[in-house]
């Protein structure tokens, strides 16, 4: 699935990002032309509202213009980097929306008391570089039904643990453990490189 074409496309995108970092407007416009429909689809999928998705796309590209220099080819493919910017903005918006409109029902996430000390950044960059589309997908295929379903719904529709529990009709604890175990397995699989290329 990672065709030579898409690899070329990624190399070209990396080059365009480098030129954008030097304030090359044409390069920036070209990045938009190449990636906006995919990124828009990602945003729309999570947010469900064209107006909100358009705003996120706009914010994301403004941010890309200002931070293109922060893209490091060694860490991820450009498409991955762009997608993660858009996804995060979508999730922020969804959660903000929830905070604004709903009187907060605690879903008792176990992460209520976190006190993590400061330490140097962990270096897992090599792993990330290898964790591109085909391998992640192959690893997802290895997940059990419930894990796969919960992770897919969360990823593609931006559901929280509590929303997943309602949607899947399963207890919160079950859903949380599907998500947690699924993510653990995904990571293990990626680190092993134990996927069919």
């Amino acid at each position: 699935m990672a065709s030579p074409q898409s690899l070329d496309g990624n190399a070209a995108l990396a080059d365009l990002l480098a030129r954008t970092a030097l304030a090359d407007q044409r390069a920036f416009a070209e990045i938009y032309r190449r990636t906006s429909s995919h990124l828009y689809a990602v945003a729309l999928r999570i947010l469900g509202e064209p107006a909100a998705a358009e705003e996120v796309l706009q914010e994301a590209f403004v941010s890309v213009w200002h931070h293109a220099g922060g893209y490091t080819a060694a860490k991820s493919q450009p498409q991955t980097w762009l997608t993660s910017i858009v996804r995060n903005r979508c999730l922020d918006r969804l959660r903000r929306r929830a905070l604004d409109t709903v009187t907060l029902t605690r879903d008792n996430d176990e992460e209520t008391e976190i006190d993590l000390p400061a330490e140097g950044p962990s270096a897992v960059d090599l792993l990330i570089a290898g964790a591109e589309a085909h391998s992640v997908r192959a690893c997802v295929e290895t997940l059990e039904g419930g894990q796969k379903q919960a992770i897919a719904l969360a990823f593609f529709q931006g559901l929280t643990h509590a929303e997943l529990s309602r949607q899947l009709g399963e207890p919160l604890g079950t859903v949380k453990s599907w998500v947690r175990r699924g993510l653990e397995r995904l990571k293990e699989c990626l680190e092993r490189g134990g996927y069919a290329r």
Partner: protein
Amino acid sequence: MNLSRPDRAARLDALAAQYALGTLSPAARRRLERLARADATVAAAINEWNLRLAPLAVGIPGIVPSPRVWEAIRQRLGLERMPSASSTPWWSSVSLWRGLALAGFALAFALGVTLLAPVAERPDERIVVVLAGQDAKPVLLVSADRGGRFLTVKAVGPLTVPADRSLELWALPTGQDPRSLGLVSASGIARIPLPSPAGIALQGSPALAISLEPAGGSPTGKPTGPVLYTGGVNNLY
């Protein structure tokens, strides 16, 4: 409390993973963001998971955004007016093709095994296309036996078609203009005859699309209205 303690590292990793996946509650999400601002280890763990999961989105079929988005970006950043950044017709959009090439995965992933399981037991080779709209929810199911001379179209989601318009189904051959296959009524049910067996008629067309056209279909032979639904052609055995 030291992060090198295995239990703490695992906890951070799990939180970062759930943050990137998006399942944390709003409050937990904010707490972790606060921590990440003050702590590079937390920020790095989040970033790592963001990048690890992002490739999954590759399977989402592209949707061309309104031209006003680029216009707004251009104005906000004070960029020159450029030969439009989105002047390509939707059917030759690179992203559409990249998305569709992998849509089969996204589909199987999103629907779990429910779609594939029963089909796998059928002896005949089938062609199945799930057409989805802007929200990526399946709306129409197009299917055919590879040797059959018609496509069966069935609505699997709500369809709204203005009375004076028609839905037109197109094959999207690689590198060529769309080719009309026929019209789909507002009921979303149609049996569209093909000039040759489906396997041959759809050869070289990795995707299908539905556009909204004037009543009776596009007057030009190419899509004139907006594309409503697209889907990748999947061969099921």
